[in-house]
Amino acid sequence: MLQVQNLVAGYGKVQVLHQLSISVPKGQLVTLIGSNGAGKTTTLRAISGMIKPDAGEILLAGRNIAGMASHEITRLGMAHSPEGRRVFPALSVDDNLELGAFPRLTGARPKGDVEQDRQRMFELFPRLKERRTQLAGTLSGGEQQMLAMARALMLGPEVLLLDEPSMGLAPRLVEEVFATIARLKAAKITMLLVEQFAAAALDVADYGYVLENGRLASSGEANSLKNDPAVRAAYLGGSH
């Protein structure tokens, strides 16, 4: 569904990604792990068009989207739940969700049944239903993360990019977020998950890529990566 081939990207003269290639098959959950500054967020930003790749191809359902404007990529079905959640604090939960469906409401994407999808989000994220009319800024961190994911899903995406959903959350909430991601996976949503919390990410994912200084350090089935001694030592907190 999503294929990144030899992607080179960075900020100005600083090159962050060096010939990165990853692949996200339809209906699968692929995770990209790595330490701070490895280029995880940059990868997602390049995929969703927020920075222009310097070289390489990004194929969404076979179509090269590298270099396209952000809003065009979104209209082709790439939903991005950004780092740090970035919900609109002064808007209600309902309005945030509606903005997620914006390209459908303007006819840039097939409309479908927006109201039904909203109800589906409330089934996936029951907490949001209780807080429908509340301003997003008054939600807890965990609830805001749920809202950010639900907003991205309102696009009716082909691929969902999740950037550090566990960032800044209490351990109990992190568990909840990962339980939600597992539910999305069960619903056959194609996802690329970027996480620093490698153990939890590999637990839910089908396949994993380990990124180091903008290059692939290793990759493989999530289960085998979890048992890889080098990965364990570097990212999973030693040998337990």
Partner: protein, 152 residues
């Protein structure tokens, strides 16, 4: 044209005759910095993440400009227009040199009145000007909310 040393105001200067267009051009030069500065100030305060978010949710660049950038910098543009209006309204030097008999500018007229027939009309105009400025100031404050921001 040969200079005689006895040119008068209204005579062509460097081959350009005072006209309404020239007057407008002169005033534009004087007021442009006011609008540039205030607009620039509100543009630097604009959070770029908002535009990124709008593009990310599928809004085109023009849509983002129309629905996000413009509304957010509107108070800055309005403040600039207010300053520009005031400075253009009571500008004497530019008006004096670039206006001709057909384009009677208020400050020039007032000046003329004061020199020839000083009467109550001058006081009336001045009164109206002060009142109009006061009303504009109140309107501007309501729009940009400076008092609200200062008092927290």
């Amino acid at each position: 044209m040969r200079r005689t040393g006895r040119e008068e105001i209204g005579d062509p200067v460097i081959g350009i005759r005072p006209s309404l267009n020239l007057l407008i051009a002169g005033h534009l030069v004087v007021i442009a910095p006011f609008i540039f500065r205030t607009t620039l100030a509100s543009l630097t305060q604009l959070d770029p993440a908002l535009l990124e978010a709008s593009a990310n949710l599928g809004a085109s660049r023009f849509f983002g400009f129309r629905r996000i950038t413009l509304p957010l910098i509107a108070p800055g543009i309005a403040a600039g227009c207010f300053l520009a209006f005031i400075s253009s309204m009571d500008n004497v030097p530019v008006s004096l040199f670039l206006s001709n008999a057909r384009t009677g500018m208020l400050p020039i007229r007032m000046w003329g009145m004061m020199e020839s027939t000083l009467d109550v009309r001058i006081a009336a105009i001045a009164g109206v000007l002060i009142l109009a400025t006061l009303i504009l100031m109140i309107v501007m404050d309501r729009l940009t909310g400076l008092t609200k921001r200062i008092s927290g």
